[in-house]
């Protein structure tokens, strides 16, 4: 620590033309400068304030991140919305395409078309019944007649319609 004295010179005399004020200003001022060295002093840490500060900072970061997540989520939501709509449109188009193919298949399988193609392009003709001989032996000469491959009405028949002897 050091003390320095500074002298401020006396005030100038009053010019004659100026009227006297009634009091004289003749006092000298001395200022002392005291040099203080605080380098050896340590600032005491206020742990509570520091915790508060960090908490606040953390909260701020959290709020910021939260906002960021919300914004990200929102934009993702919009983005996925577009994607879903696109996929829906794609699915609808595929379903429609599938139906179109089914229709085309049905048109191509028209018995009249097949008949015409078979007769005119391939030169085919239906066989006479006597030309067709089954190899399974279900009916040959006097064998028992197999039942036709048609549905039968179980509930209605109940054995009632079986032909009598």
């Amino acid at each position: 620590m050091a003390t320095v004295a500074i002298t401020i010179p006396r005030a100038r005399r009053r010019p004659r033309s100026q009227p006297a004020t009634g009091r004289a200003c003749v006092t000298d001022f001395y200022f002392f400068v005291k040099r203080i060295d605080n380098s050896r002093l340590f600032r005491e840490v206020d742990r509570e304030k520091r915790r508060e500060c960090f908490c606040l900072l953390g909260l701020g970061v959290l709020v910021f991140l939260f906002g960021l997540v919300i914004a990200w989520q929102h934009f993702q939501c919009v983005r996925y919305g577009y994607q879903i709509e696109e996929s829906k449109a794609q699915r609808a188009a595929m379903e429609e395409w599938s139906r179109q193919l089914r229709l085309e298949q049905a048109s191509l399988a028209d018995p009249q078309r097949i008949d015409t193609l078979a007769r005119q392009k391939l030169g085919l003709a239906p066989p006479d019944p006597q030309q067709v001989i089954r190899m399974d032996g279900a009916r040959r000469g006097g064998g028992e007649l197999g039942s036709p491959e048609l549905a039968r009405n179980f509930s209605a028949l109940g054995g009632e319609n079986s032909r009598g002897p």
């Binding site: 001022f29 919009v78 919305g81 577009y82 879903i84 709509e85 829906k88 429609e96 139906r99 179109q100 089914r102 229709l103 049905a106 048109s107 399988a109 028209d110 018995p111 009249q112 008949d115 078979a118 007769r119 391939l122 030169g123 085919l124 003709a125 239906p126 066989p127 006479d128 019944p129 006597q130 030309q131 067709v132 001989i133 089954r134 190899m135 399974d136 032996g137 279900a138 009916r139 040959r140 000469g141 007649l145 197999g146 039942s147 036709p148 491959e149 048609l150 549905a151 039968r152 009405n153 179980f154 509930s155 209605a156 028949l157 009632e160 319609n161 079986s162 032909r163 009598g164």
Partner: protein, 688 residues
């Protein structure tokens, strides 16, 4: 003493100025905030409703999603009617910069009159249809024009991929997809479904980024009892007959006599339901259910059955047919031929009207009327088709003196072809009248509502039915029905030739209805077939006009259904006596041609080459087609079984299973005891 330090004079002088500015700024901010809040209040509170609706109008669109009509399929699952989304073109005339030019561009592309289009653009400002349900080519061409103010809208359109096939059964729909005829009309509530809505949120570019759907209900699919191949066989044979005899029309019905299921229902003239507007109203009439006609001799089934059932006669009882003439209430009724004494079976075979009238007189009016009603005449069959006629049948109290004679021969009574088919099916199956049905199942996704067959009603005893069958078989064997005899099969049936009533109200001498109704094969009938030809030219009798059509349909249908042949007398001699191995040898050797290679069962076409492997009485026998499906399994009777049991049985037998409905098995295809190849798909219908 340390003197107090005073601030510099200059700082003291700036203080009031900064404060004022701060206050000014704060005041401004406050005012700005107040203004902002006021504006927000105005927007958010006062104008909230209006602005919200405006925003929604801009950002959201509610689109009504038209329900897709259900698909109509045949019994094998082949689609007969289905709907597709197609483009419709509309315009916003106020957005069109040069309407005359746009009309001139669109007209030729869409096949429309440019002037008419231009007129429409002038008449409407905000919306007008240009053309609805355009073809893909038309839509592509209009898109390529890239016209301002012309837009596209998706709509559904009904397509009938098989064209005229079963057109009268299916019916057709109008421009707004509502059924107008046939099953499309009759089952419109089921097939049409309910519309849904989609709320679409879109951005400034009208691209949607969010949508909320209120699901509608798609229409239900309908499974018919028709088989498209049998339908085609019937339509083709009928078409050829109508063309050959230059007839006004005709109808053919093929029915499974054991269940009442209609396998085919063909009509002439016919139409294409894809372009129904181009057809005449007459062509769109389903004669099978709308046409009431006098059946003639085919109606004798009722009189003779009733007499046998009431034990008033026997098939071998001889009746004097009075040389073809009988007097009733002062009126003389003449037969088509003078017959003397004839047993009842020959009365049917020769179609003697006098003999039948004598049987009717034994029955009396009351009993005859009761049997007519029991066979289903005079009331609708309720087959599931709309607009069915009930026929014409007067109660006995309104009968005249000769009515009993006329009605017993099939005159003075009106029936529909479907009623007559059902009656013959009753004789074919042993005496039970089944309600004809055309719809087997209605389903949406996995939800099935199978329509089980209605229980039958016994109309005559099994013995009477058998005696009638024998008589009808006699008709085909030696009587008027010889041309109906199918090769390889026995058949039973009855011809009919009825005069039509002309404009003067009398029986016409030139206009006739020729018909044949029968079933085959006789021991276990698989199909009842009715053929009616209206006003044939050149020939009038059922045996000439209708019986050959029956034969053609029976041969192909029974072959298609894999019904084993039961009439060896009509097989070639060599084929009857040669063991199966020999045929296999022929095939293995490739004798003659590669045509003998195995073909799938029921194949309709096969190369025919007149290769003689045996000769009988000098006639060249055509080449034999050998069918071999490998080992066959007998289909078990699954009635009353649960799904799990059925699945186990099918797995054990190596059969593919197709389940429909829930509960217990009520119906199966192929039927029990049928012999099918391993791996055959067995369709079983379950119901609770």
């Amino acid at each position: 003493m340390i003197p107090r330090m005073s601030r510099p004079r200059s700082d003291a002088g700036a203080r009031p100025s900064t404060t004022a500015r701060s206050l000014l700024l704060a005041g401004f901010l406050v005012l700005w905030m107040v203004g902002l809040v006021a504006r927000l209040y105005h927007l958010q509170i006062i104008q909230y409703v209006e602005l919200l609706s405006r925003a929604q109008r801009q950002q959201q669109r509610t689109i009504e999603v038209a329900p897709k009509r259900g698909v109509i399929v045949d019994r094998q699952g082949h689609p007969l009617a289905m709907s597709l989304a197609v483009d419709s073109i509309f315009a916003v005339p106020s957005e069109i910069p040069d309407p005359p030019m746009v009309a001139k561009l669109l007209g030729p592309v869409l096949g429309l009159e440019s002037r008419e289009l231009e007129g429409r653009f002038k008449a409407f400002r905000s919306f007008c249809w240009v053309k609805r349900k355009v073809s893909t080519e038309e839509a592509t061409r209009v898109r390529a024009l890239n016209l301002k103010g012309v837009y596209f809208q998706k709509e559904t359109k009904r397509f009938y991929p098989k064209g005229e096939l079963a057109a009268h059964v299916l019916g057709h729909v109008g421009l707004d997809e509502t059924g107008l005829a046939g099953l499309e009309y009759g089952m419109d509530d089921v097939i049409r479904g309910k519309p849904g809505r989609v709320l679409v949120a879109s951005d400034a570019r009208r691209q949607s980024f969010r949508s909320t759907e209120w699901q509608g209900q798609a229409g239900k699919d309908v499974v018919l009892t028709l088989d498209e191949n049998i339908q085609y066989i019937a339509e083709k044979a009928l078409g050829e007959a109508v063309n050959r005899w230059k007839a006004a029309g005709g109808t053919v019905i093929v029915q499974n006599p054991n269940t009442g299921e209609i396998l085919a229902m063909a009509n002439q003239p016919t139409f294409d339901p894809n372009e129904f507007a181009r057809s005449s109203p007459e062509a769109r009439i389903n004669r099978a259910i709308h046409w009431v006609y006098e059946p003639g001799s085919t109606f004798k089934i009722v009189t003779v059955s009733a007499a046998l059932e009431e034990k008033l006669t026997r098939p071998d009882e001889v009746i004097n047919c009075q040389q073809g003439s009988i007097v009733l209430a002062g009126h003389t009724i003449n037969d088509h031929e003078p017959f003397g004494d004839l047993p009842v079976r020959m009365i049917v075979a020769k179609s003697s009207g006098v003999g039948v009238i004598k049987l009717a007189l034994r029955l009396g009016e009351g009993r005859l009327y009761r049997y007519i009603r029991q066979f289903g005449f005079g009331s609708r069959t309720e087959a599931g088709l709309p607009g069915e006629e009930r026929g014409l049948l007067k109660p006995p109290q309104f009968w005249s003196g000769i009515s009993i004679g006329e009605i017993s021969m099939g005159q003075e009574v009106g029936v529909t072809p479907l009623q007559l088919t059902a009656a013959y099916s009753a004789i074919a199956n042993g005496g039970i009248l089944f309600q004809p049905r055309i719809v087997r199942d209605v389903f949406r996704g996995d939800e099935h509502d199978p329509i089980p067959p209605a229980p039958g009603r016994r109309v005559v005893s099994a013995r009477t039915a058998e005696e009638m069958t024998e008589m009808f078989a006699e008709v085909v064997r030696v009587g008027s029905g010889i041309p109906a005899r199918p090769a390889g099969y026995t058949a039973a049936g009855k011809t009919g030739t009825a005069q039509k009533i002309d404009a003067s109200g009398k029986y016409s001498k030139t206009h006739y209805i020729a018909s044949f109704v029968g079933f085959a094969p006789v021991p276990q009938p698989a199909a009842t077939i009715l053929v009616v030809i209206d006003e044939p030219m050149g020939a009038i009798y059922g045996r000439e006009v209708a019986a050959p059509v029956f034969r053609a349909i029976a041969e192909q249908t029974l072959g298609y259904l894999n019904v084993p042949q039961d009439n060896p007398s009509r097989w070639p001699q060599g084929a009857k006596s040669t063991p199966a191995g020999s045929f296999r040898q022929i095939r293995d050797d490739g004798a003659g041609s590669p045509n003998l290679a195995p073909e799938p069962l029921g194949v309709a076409t096969s190369p025919v080459k007149t290769v003689s492997f045996t000769k009988s009485s000098g006639r060249e026998i055509p080449e034999t087609v050998v069918l071999d499906d490998g080992p066959l399994v007998t289909v078990p009777d699954l009635s009353g079984m649960a799904v799990r049991q059925v699945a186990r049985v099918c797995q054990e037998l190596g059969l593919d299973l197709n389940v429909r409905g829930t509960g217990l098995a009520v119906e199966q295809f192929p039927a029990a005891k049928a012999r099918v190849a391993s791996g055959t798909r067995l369709r079983v219908m379950f119901a609770r």
